[in-house]
């Protein structure tokens, strides 16, 4: 069991003109499932390799528990790195497939068998231990792969996109299983993915990275409800948050012919900016009456159970302008959703509107309670 701390940890690749991981500060609790998420190239794998002791730390430090491991070789860190590849060896039994890395590490046979037995029990694979892997289902194969990591019983698990080559169905079921197992084992885990849904459904907390910089680290719900900046707001959530630019007036922000009410003190925080960005989650819209709400020309309607997704553009655009105009997405719970081509009003709860500075992307609105 261990905590993990990155303190101003920085990595600059030889020949690169800027850091790939820039002063990363991240405190991971004992037993916590921490997910690092961000677009390709944001520095996820580099951070993980720094923690594993594979990548040199050019500045700052890394701690596991109360040890400063910055200059410790990988083998002295008591971590297990789980790779993408999990080939199952056809001539070896399921038990040997789970335990062979222990054999390489010189763990004595009886202990090896015990650890494999324990892992198999945890994974529901006890009856398979002496079988060859050929008849295993996709899900069972995934569990053998997990068993391979579990038997190493490290202080910290590191996983770099372990699900990226699975088909959609297996990916969804495996991510639930990994999260559940991690809770049961209570081993501190750092998990890397580029997929925000995976991050949000698996992590106790999620660290969002972009261009080597930590944008925000928070619980999934806080990331969703209170994104610190425009990048996090747009990156987290699917369908994504609507980010709509509008002109600032005294009591709000103009979107088409409607003024979205925004408290003065919020507007005051954006001293010089004449235009600000509104962030509205699709599900916080409701259909409005008369002139109440943003006017939208509905382009496409998708019904989904009791709800409907509307996709449209702000009213008053020519057909040509619509093609390039920003799409607004709304999730409406209505038994009779509007038709394609209709013009509707989308009402907003002012409490649920985020306002972002265009200059530096930071959120200006107060943190909400949700």
């Amino acid at each position: 069991m261990a905590t993990v701390n990155f303190k101003d940890a920085t990595r600059v690749y030889p020949g690169a003109d800027h850091p790939s991981v820039d002063k990363l500060n991240l405190d991971i609790g004992d037993g916590e499932f921490m997910v690092l998420v961000g677009p390709s190239g944001c520095g996820k794998s580099t951070s993980l390799r720094m923690l594993a002791g594979l990548e040199e730390v050019n500045a700052g430090s890394i701690h596991i528990g109360d040890r400063d491991v910055t200059d410790l070789p990988p083998k002295d860190r008591d971590i297990a790195m789980v790779f993408q590849n999990y080939a199952l060896y056809p001539h070896m039994t399921v038990g040997d497939n789970m335990g062979f890395a222990l054999k390489m590490a010189g763990v004595p046979k009886t202990e090896r068998q015990q650890r494999v037995q324990d892992a198999a029990k945890l994974l529901g694979l006890e009856d398979f231990l002496n079988r060859k892997p050929k008849a295993l289902s996709g899900g069972q194969r995934q569990r053998v792969a997990m068993g391979r990591a579990i038997v190493r019983s490290p202080q910290v698990f590191l996983m770099d996109e372990p699900l990226s080559n699975l088909d959609a169905k297996l990916r969804v079921s495996t991510r639930t299983q990994i999260a559940a197992l991690q809770t049961r084992l209570g081993v501190t885990t750092v998990y890397v993915t580029h997929d925000q849904i995976e991050a949000m459904t698996m992590g106790d907390r999620v660290a969002v990275l972009k261009d080597g910089l930590l944008q925000q680290v928070d619980t999934p719900l806080n990331l969703y409800d209170n994104p610190r900046n425009l990048f996090v707001a747009g990156f987290i959530g699917s369908p994504a948050m609507n980010l709509i630019e509008g002109e600032v007036s005294e009591d709000g922000i103009h979107i088409g012919d409607y003024v979205v009410p925004v408290p003065r003190e919020t507007l005051g925080k954006a001293s010089e900016e004449k235009r600000l960005m509104l962030g509205i989650r699709p599900e916080t819209f409701e259909l409005g009456e008369g002139t109440d709400g943003i006017g939208i020309d509905v382009g496409v309607v998708e019904e989904l159970g009791a709800d409907a997704f509307l996709y449209g553009t702000v009213t008053g655009l020519s057909d040509e302008e619509k093609l390039t105009a920003q799409q607004i997405t709304a999730r409406i719970s209505s038994r009779t959703p509007p038709r394609r081509g209709a013009t509707v009003r989308l009402k907003i709860d002012p409490e649920q509107v985020h306002v972002f500075s265009q200059a530096d992307g930071r959120r200006l609105t107060e943190t909400t309670g949700r």
Binding site: R49, E56, L88, Y89, P90, T201, L221, Y224, G237
Partner: protein
């Protein structure tokens, strides 16, 4: 209709049954070739005279691998050649199927599963290991992080008594300007695990010679890699009176098959200490020279061998002062080409031309020793064909009916292991019972179910 993405489309591929999952393709279209184990469904198909390897894989990975394999060929790394990707596949019910990556089957390639088996000579093992290590070092020199170093992802070809290794699987690869030591260590740690697992698997299947020990093999590979990397990139410091060490370093690198394109040489103020470090080294020292002189594209050791023969020819015909290219052309038309075309058409799938020429040179050397006089190379070729070549197996495709495929549960897929009896399905509480920790409605794939997330967080849980 499926969509083809390809730089050199082969029209014969278009009519293949793309609306059928690859695992269900009719056996008469397929060729059962020995190959490495794989997670994806991989099959070899024959269209006309060409054999292709097909791999069914998620779209983003198929495109990534296609592009990377093409990059690797461009930077002259020995790898299989990507031909294209088939996208937008649907079965007759309109259900989507995963895309297929198409690569050309690498002719004369020998997958590892048949190479370490009973009776293999230690010397052969060393040469296989060296070939693997050279490939890894070349990849790393080029800034390629493999991410899945394994025997299954390596193919071997004969190379004048040695082997040359090729990369087959670039799915997890990343190409950078250059790699950090950490990235190389990452590859090495993956290599250790994968190679150990694969050797243990061969051992468990009775496919590893009894004298070979997985752990020792893995350690040998790692040590050799570090030695080679040190030679290729390491700093060497010596006294100003030992200037010859600059040339020795270059010669050693040439002997390993590398050219030095940039050597960094620094001296201290007094000029008494010299420090050298190769900055840019390129593999293929001999094969490039042979290609330039003769147009022959061969493996590195084959090239070395043919260049030696060329030198010998030049000395014997007393043309030391003649233009090298002119002599090379004579050698090609008077020796190499006639010898190689003397192989009867029915035996041409046994050895590659350059490998055949190498074997003839070997054969001539032994025959000359025995006869106590120099045997003519054309006569040696005839004798080699009638006494040795005719009994060698075909290796162009390595269609093997013997050992390698014998006993396999599925001749098209070694990942399924042997067809040994494992009857009945054991009890799986996660799939048969309702003990699975994941029990409950499964979330949709591309939709973030925030309501479920709130519900989960509102409940008191073990976490927090």
């Amino acid at each position: 209709m499926p969509r083809f993405l390809s730089a050199q489309p082969d029209a014969r591929l278009i009519t293949l049954p793309w609306d059928t999952p690859l695992a269900d393709w009719p056996a008469e279209m397929l060729v059962a070739l020995p190959r490495g184990i794989s997670r994806h469904v991989v099959r070899f198909v024959r269209v006309g005279s060409e054999v292709y390897a097909l791999k069914e894989v998620l779209e983003h990975l198929a495109l990534h691998e296609y592009r990377l394999l093409r990059d690797l060929v461009r930077i002259d790394i020995p790898s299989v050649e990507a031909n294209g990707v088939v996208l937008s596949r649907f079965d007759p019910d309109g259900e989507p199927l995963d895309p297929v990556l198409i690569t050309k089957h690498l002719q004369f390639s020998l997958p590892y599963r048949s190479l370490f088996s009973r009776g293999v000579r230690q010397d052969t093992v060393n040469r296989l290991v060296d070939a693997m290590v050279v490939l890894l070092a070349r990849l790393h020199l080029s800034g390629f992080l493999w991410g899945d170093v394994s025997l299954s992802n390596t193919l071997f070809r004969r190379d004048a008594g040695s082997f040359a290794a090729y990369l087959v699987d670039a799915e997890t690869g990343e190409l950078h300007e250059s790699l950090s030591d950490g990235q190389r260590e990452h590859d090495l740690s993956i290599a250790r695990t994968n190679l150990f697992g694969e050797f243990c698997d061969l051992e468990a299947g009775g496919l590893l010679d009894q004298s070979l020990e997985p752990l020792i093999l893995v350690e040998t590979i790692e040590n050799r890699y570090r030695e080679l990397w040190g030679e290729l990139t390491g700093v060497e410091e010596f006294d100003g009176s030992e200037m010859h060490r600059i040339e020795s370093r270059v010669r050693r690198l040439n002997a390993l098959g590398f050219d030095v394109a940039e050597l960094d040489i620094t001296t201290d103020f007094a000029g008494s200490t010299i420090r050298i470090q190769p900055k840019v080294v390129d593999a293929g020292h001999h094969s490039r020279r042979l290609l330039r002189l003769t147009g022959l594209d061969t493996e590195e050791n084959q090239a070395r061998r043919l260049l030696n023969d060329l030198d010998y020819y030049r000395a014997r015909t007393d043309q030391q002062n003649a233009d090298e290219a002119v002599v090379a052309h004579q050698w090609l038309t008077q020796l190499f080409e006639p010898v190689v075309s003397s192989v009867p058409p029915g035996m041409r799938a046994k050895l590659e031309p350059a490998e055949f020429y190498h074997e003839v040179l070997e054969h001539r050397w032994y025959s000359s020793e025995r006869a106590g006089r120099e045997i003519d190379v054309h006569d040696a070729a005839q004798s080699y064909i009638s006494t040795v070549l005719h009994q060698l197996p075909d290796e162009a495709l390595a269609v093997s009916t013997e050992d390698t495929l014998a006993g396999l549960a599925n001749p098209f897929d070694p990942s399924m292991g042997f067809a040994d009896a494992d009857d009945g399905q054991p009890y799986d509480p996660w799939e048969d019972g309702d003990e699975a920790p994941a029990a409950g409605a499964e979330p949709a794939e591309d939709f973030l179910d925030i309501a479920a997330l709130r519900a989960r967080t509102d409940k008191p849980t073990l976490r927090s």
